[in-house]
């Protein structure tokens, strides 16, 4: 059978599998529509807090006069004026017994994840504000929530700034004003556009790998074809071409859908489309490799999942590549997602052209997997 005939046969096989085709084209649409219709989810971290004020307790030493007028202002700012904070509950302790009870309640709020943090205003809070000496705020945070731990002190600057303005403490106050560069504007679909560099490659890689991971192993009559003049090379090539055409259509669909549902891209849309195609092609090659290697359909499924887990886990999303050793970076570099994510980020959010380094690695990946698929299939023993 000629290569053209094999490709035609492969199309027939794919077309007969209508459900796969439906899923292949439907899943990206559903996800893009869901994420695309969601607005207003940006990079801001929101905190829920509880406050215990000990300000009503008497103070001695440097503060002979007892004052407690400022704790309520701070609590009110946390409750009503701050954009990054939500006040869950506050407790006013006038003695140690009340404080211990409030502390226990707040500790349980923290344990049950009802709050991210609880703040304790000390006995001398109002006095320190009045005398313009450094007021101290104590906070207790859930240390297992790394994102909260890293963001809390900067986030507290907002209510502190508002409080200082209210209490006339603006002298010597230094604060940073962030202007995010290459961010997604608030009027655009932030959830979709921030998630796009991650979810698009995952969807494309996942669906294309799924499309091809069973293409060799599940085709019963394939060994019998080898009795005819058809060669193994032609079989692999026909599968690669036919599945690439399907992937091409899927990439086009994803491109149109993302453009329609709020794609925010500073860069060239052509580059964006090209990146999608390259990622899809890599998925096809990995799928063929899995299919050639696996002895049964079930092991092909298992291998697909394992490959997918490895690709997602070591893509650089969990591990910043710059932090790890060069030997480990080599492992990360051979995985397609490590190049796909920065490639799309650079195009959409930074407006850069396609990075040669990422294109090279991505296509090298495809080449290696397709060559491996061919070699494995060539030496595979098939029973007719």
């Amino acid at each position: 059978m000629s290569l053209g005939g094999l490709i035609k046969k492969e199309f027939g096989r794919i077309r007969s599998d209508r459900r796969t085709l439906i899923l292949l084209f439907l899943i990206p649409i559903i996800l893009i529509v869901i994420f695309g219709l969601t607005t207003g989810v940006g990079p801001t971290k929101f905190f829920t807090a509880a406050i215990i004020t000990r300000d009503d307790m008497p103070t001695y030493g440097d503060f002979p006069s007892n004052s407690s007028q400022y704790d309520e202002i701070f609590i009110s700012i946390m409750d009503n004026n701050s954009t990054a904070w939500d006040l869950h509950q506050y407790f006013n302790s006038t003695n140690e017994v009340e404080y211990n009870m409030a502390y226990l309640k707040c500790y349980n709020f923290l344990k049950d994840e009802k709050v991210d943090i609880f703040i304790v205003l000390p006995e001398n809070f109002s006095e320190s504000v009045e005398k313009k000496v450094n007021p101290v705020l104590f906070y207790y945070i859930d240390g297992s929530d790394l994102s909260a731990v890293s963001a809390v002190e900067v986030a507290l600057q907002e209510p502190i700034g508002l409080f200082r303005a209210e209490a006339d403490l603006i002298a010597n106050f230094s604060i940073m004003v962030p202007y995010l560069e290459f961010d997604v504007p608030f009027w655009e679909s932030q959830l979709l556009n921030y998630a796009l560099p991650l979810i698009l490659p995952i969807i494309i890689l996942g669906t294309t790998m799924n499309l091809t991971s069973l293409s060799i192993v599940s085709e019963g009559p394939l060994p019998r074809m080898l009795i005819t003049p058809t060669t193994k090379r032609e079989i692999i090539l026909s599968k690669l071409i036919a599945n690439s055409v399907i992937m091409f259509l899927q990439s086009t669909e994803i491109f149109i859908m993302t453009s329609f549902f709020g794609l925010y891209s500073l860069g060239s849309l052509f580059y964006f489309y090209l990146a999608l195609v390259m990622i899809g092609f890599c998925g096809i090659c990995i799928g063929l490799f899995i299919s050639a290697l696996s002895p049964t359909e079930q092991s092909a499924n298992q291998m697909y999942l394992i490959m997918f887990i490895v690709i997602v886990l070591f893509s650089g999303n969990f591990l910043p590549p710059e932090l790890i050793s060069p030997a480990m970076q080599y492992i990360i570099n051979i995985l397609p997602l490590s190049h796909a994510i920065p490639l799309i980020t650079d195009i959409t959010l930074k407006g850069l052209p396609m990075s040669l380094n990422h294109i090279l690695f991505l296509n090298l990946n495809s080449l290696i997997f397709v060559v491996l698929a061919y070699i494995i299939y060539k030496f595979k023993k098939l029973e007719v």
Partner: protein
């Protein structure tokens, strides 16, 4: 006479029941044996299901533990506009004060979180911002820090001194680290220059990972574990019913449908137990900090795995062909994965997506395991019961579908 007949018949019935149960158990055990033999024939599959997941954990742990403890400072450029002429609107007086520029540069230099690549005085280099922006776009630096024109004047006049910072926001995960680093330089600046009063923040971390344990590994392992145990047990079972051709012929024997399905559940549950034990051992070897008990962790992983297993068998019972089962698995898996909170935090999703996410099993895995590992919580909380409910529903539906399914011998 009637009483004795009744007693006899009751005795027979009782005997009948015991024989029934015995027969049923015997058939289930035989079918489990058959299942194990069937699994044994596909050794490659078993290797992938049992040996590879702990290997992934080892590799993940090795990579995380290989990350050096020392801080990686964030590369930045500082541009000062402070020596430009500032005109005070109220008195129309020009000022070129820049007394606080150098102290701030010193503070940036002192900060272990920042690394200055260049300093530009915008009075002399008017294209400083353009140059810095080109560096930002090419990822040479992560942030541009700009000291505005009235910085020194404002501090001297008792007004807030503002520091502008322009972080690269294309990498959403690193924005907070960048802001923290700039904030650190401001803290050093106000302390070194005795600019009082300042608010002192004294933080205490509860439930944090103690020193000596790798923070990154312990933080990321919760998602990884639930992802692996759920995925592997699901994929292992998606074909168990649909690919078994002799099921129809098996039904001609005394074997009941419920026994056939039950034997599959038991077989794969035993494999799951073995899998979970191996995963726990591998995570403990990789220095997992565990505030709770190993038993709680085992039950948590088992409940996640069992949900995957029951979802796999559910897919297998309701699919007519292997291809259909594969497709359904993939569709379910990708949706579960994308809405699990691994990529987008569930709290950041809109309400309708949050509802879907909380119905899906992977969204319960992370909080449940994290609670056990860091807070020493009991496994029997909301997440466990949500998973239990989900798996019970899936098991029941799979039994109903399998019972009503038509087979041709």
């Amino acid at each position: 006479m009637r009483e004795s007949e009744n007693r006899k018949s009751n005795g027979k019935e009782g005997k009948f029941h015991i024989n029934n149960i015995r027969g049923s158990l015997f058939r289930i055990i035989r079918q489990m044996k058959k299942e194990f033999l069937l699994l044994w024939t596909d050794k490659f599959n078993m290797l992938l299901a049992i040996v590879v997941p702990p290997l992934i954990i080892f590799l993940f742990g090795f990579m995380m533990n290989a990350i050096p403890d020392e801080l990686q400072p964030i590369d930045c450029v500082v541009i000062s506009y402070d020596s430009n002429v500032y005109i005070d609107d109220s008195i129309l007086n020009g000022s070129v004060r820049d007394d606080y520029t150098l102290p701030y540069i010193n503070a940036v230099n002192k900060s272990e979180y920042l690394n200055i690549l260049h300093f530009y005085n915008a009075t002399e280099e008017i294209y400083a911002m353009e140059t810095a922006r080109l560096m930002l776009i090419s990822s040479e630096i992560k942030v541009i820090i700009a000291i505005p024109v009235a910085f020194s004047e404002f501090i001297t006049l008792g007004l807030p001194g503002l520091i502008d910072c322009v972080p690269d926001a294309s990498d959403i995960q690193s924005i907070q680290d960048t802001l923290n680093a700039v904030f650190d330089s401001i803290k050093i600046f106000v302390n070194d220059n005795n600019l009082t009063p300042q608010f002192e923040l004294t933080g205490y971390e509860e439930f944090s990972i103690p020193e000596g344990y790798n923070l990154r590994f312990n933080y990321n392992i919760t998602l990884t574990l639930s992802f692996i145990v759920f995925g592997v047990s699901m994929v292992l079972t998606i074909l168990v019913v649909v690919q078994e051709k002799p099921v129809a012929r098996l039904l001609l024997t005394p074997a009941k449908r419920s026994e056939i399905l039950l034997s599959k559940y038991f077989t794969y549950t035993l494999i799951l137990i073995f899998q979970v034990i191996l995963l726990i051992i591998s995570t403990l070897i990789c220095r997992l900090y565990l505030a709770g008990s190993v038993f709680d962790l085992f039950i948590a992983l088992f409940s996640i795995g069992f949900t995957g297993l029951s979802m796999g068998i559910f897919i297998s019972t309701q699919s007519k062909t292997k291809t259909e089962a594969n497709q359904l698995f993939f569709a379910v898996f990708i949706v579960i994965l994308l809405l699990s909170g691994i990529f987008i935090p569930i709290d950041a999703m809109p309400v309708y997506l949050q509802i879907i996410a909380y119905i899906l099993p992977l969204s319960h895995g992370d909080p449940m395991i994290r609670g056990i590992i860091t807070k020493g919580k009991s496994v029997f909380g909301f997440d466990f019961f949500a998973l239990l409910l989900l798996s019970t529903v899936l098991v029941l539906i799979s039994f109903i579908i399998f019972k009503r399914r038509k087979y041709e011998v």
